[in-house]
Symmetry: C2
DNA sequence: CATTTTTCGACTATGTTGGTCAAGATGAGT
DNA sequence: ACTCATCTTGACCAACATAGTCGAAAAATG
């Protein structure tokens, strides 16, 4: 059930770009250092994210990466889905890769899988990178969010 | 993010045993046929489930498997965790395999991961196999559960 | 004893993960 | 025009996980 390293690296890279938020691009090497990501692997990942339209790049000296859209409009779920594939645990309840299983309509677990999918989607598709940044700010100020039980 | 075939097979096998609910055991071959599971693979899976205390077995002619506990007391999450490991997407928020990450207390994603974990746990750890059976009954009678949107 | 059924460990083929590496293209400054 | 920093691209690789299969043994029933 776990998220791949690659996906978590991608999320952290996007977070770093969201936090940077400046007209000058952020270099791969800087992202790698800040977020503790193997630099050679990060090259691959950022290139993939670029292909997905999540980030833009500038080549050459003084080049680097920017976020391709405002952090308020980019959900964590979008990045996760792009890198790791569907969020759903089984294809029959996935929106992005829907495929009926062999128990057409007779499946004992269909309702269960739907509820799991909905619960996950309710979190990942409603959390933007701007939300994460705000959370981090509040945590620094000593505020404890409502997720803590 | 998906569940392994093995895990889904295990869940279906347990469901079949829960549904059988009789003093006579259910044979591997019968479970395999009903739930469309490769029989040789199912042998391995049931043996593993037995090791986890989920099912009991009787050997020899007229042997087979029973559920080791009432279906009302067995949650789907327990089986999933046993077969596929922690439900949580990252170890730092997993109860069963907790391990701090390298960003001790400075992690931008900690709150996020917690919310995801809680959302998933709220479904899988609160759904028992008895619940699934009841759902299936109601679906047969044309009743549409509250999971359907 | 013969048959049915579980039990157990070894085996294997294929795919995924988590990277690394080398060479090239591009752009900014001198 | 040259140089240097930086992104770009595709190939490559080792280790591990997945999804099973197989054969032989042990136990219970009749």
């Amino acid at each position: 059930m776990s998220v791949s390293s690659k996906c978590y690296y991608a999320m952290r890279a996007v977070y770093a770009l969201a936090e940077h938020n400046s007209p000058e691009p952020l270099k791969i090497s800087q992202i790698a250092e800040r977020e503790m990501i193997p630099i050679r692997f990060l090259e691959v990942i950022l290139n993939q994210l670029k292909g997905g339209g999540f980030v833009r790049s500038k080549r050459g000296a003084e080049g680097g990466y920017f976020l391709a859209m405002p952090a308020e409009e980019l959900t964590v779920g979008a990045v996760m889905r792009f890198v790791d594939g569907p969020i759903a645990m089984v294809d029959c309840v996935s929106q992005s890769r829907h495929k009926e299983c062999e128990f057409h309509g007779e499946c004992h677990f269909f309702g269960f899988w739907c509820r799991v999918r909905q619960a996950m989607s309710d979190v990942v598709d409603k959390t933007t990178f701007a939300d994460l940044m705000r959370e981090s700010q509040e945590r620094k100020k000593g505020y404890v969010g409502d997720w803590s039980i």
